[in-house]
Amino acid sequence: MDTLTNDETIVERALAGDPEAFGEIVRRWERRIFALSYGMLGREDEARDATQETFLAAFRNLRGFRGEAKVSSWLHRIAVNQCISRQRRARVRSESAIEDEEERHAAQFAAPVGYSPSHVIESQQETDAVRRAIQTLPVELRQVVIMKEFEELTFREIAEALDIPLSTVKSRLYTALKQLQMRLNRFANDAT
């Protein structure tokens, strides 16, 4: 795989002291790691912080990267750990405060031009429902959904990143989609 070869080469350059090399890794993976963080955390500011922390942690532990796994898998693992630890910290805080922030955050999405207010509200409600449905999934299910849907990784890449068998990735994805479907149905019923 070209990406794999390039990533490894770039990491080697970074280890050799090339100051530009790690920036290249960041540019290459920043968007995906942000997507993963957003999916895991459900909030843009948290996702942005988690993304930064992920790359900082990766930079600090660059010498610990032995090339046994892909750079992407390595980064995803760091990102997932960052998100999980952030969620643990968030749980310690007041739940009501988080809910308030989430409500405020849900309204900050910019509405596409030309959409009617009812459509915007409907759309916002729908995305908020999806976000809540994802957030309420167990961590192991949420990880695979985010990696598949947000990052568009292959089953094999997810298996490598999470160090689980390919069949486990598929079964977790199946269970996750099923639970999401059930939650979204429930939200839809509550709304009506």
């Binding site: 790690f22 920043e30 968007r31 942000f34 999916g39 900082l56 729908e126 959904v145």
Partner: protein
């Protein structure tokens, strides 16, 4: 909630997921699509999952629309000292440039003077002597020698006065007297004494000995 949605009569979950995400082989995809036409449960599940995916994609698109790349590890351009100084001078006003130049010149002059002084101090015998360490025995010896020399000088002054008075009658100084003084106690000879001694030793030609070849000339030759 549909009842048969939860039923898992068909154990084709792996195939469903693989086809749903487009990761099944073309052959497996074709087989599963054939199965979907025959199995209502799998067909509904496939459709429901597709709906969930499109909802998740909406959320993803909204989230990533607000994403702005913000590299956490930004490269900080580090100028060399020379480049930094050059840019500093380019930005600074003329009076500052002149002031800096004068200050540098003064510093250079003082530095040179200081360097030369330090060199002189290093080479001076005083510093060498000061730097030298004396033992107690050496110090005692030096003091004793100095006291002895002072005594001898005092004695010789008295003797010289007496001898000069005694020898006023004679034109020649007794060579034996000078020779009898030990080298340690010998006082410096006066010019007259040195000339007399040289004449006695026939190192200097007398007016009547001009034709004689001097010993020193012979040695020098």
């Amino acid at each position: 909630m549909n009842e048969d949605f939860l039923k898992q009569d068909c154990q084709q979950q792996d195939e469903l997921i693989s086809v749903l995400y487009g990761e099944a082989s073309p052959e497996d995809t074709k087989q599963f699509q054939t199965h979907l036409r025959q199995c209502g449960s799998c067909a509904r599940e496939y459709e429901a999952f597709s709906g969930v995916r499109s909802s998740v994609h909406e959320l993803r698109d909204l989230a990533l629309a607000g994403f702005q790349p913000q590299s956490p590890v930004q490269r900080v351009e580090r100028k060399s000292a020379r480049a930094a100084l050059t840019s500093f001078f380019n930005l600074s006003p003329v009076w500052m440039k002149l002031g800096t130049a004068v200050a540098i010149a003064v510093l250079c002059v003082f530095g040179f003077i200081g360097f030369m002084k330090s060199k002189q101090v290093v080479n001076s015998p005083l510093k060498e002597a000061a730097a030298r360490m004396y033992s107690e025995a050496e110090l005692k010896d030096a003091v004793a020698r100095a006291v002895n020399e002072a005594n001898v000088a005092a004695r010789s002054d008295h003797g010289t006065v007496g001898s000069v008075q005694a020898e006023n009658s004679s034109d020649r100084i007794s060579v034996n007297r000078i020779q009898s003084q030990s080298p340690k106690n010998r006082r410096p000879l006066s010019r007259y004494e040195r000339q007399q001694l040289a004449a006695d030793l026939r190192l200097v030609a007398r007016p009547d000995e001009d034709g004689l070849e001097l010993l020193s000339d012979r040695i020098n030759q």
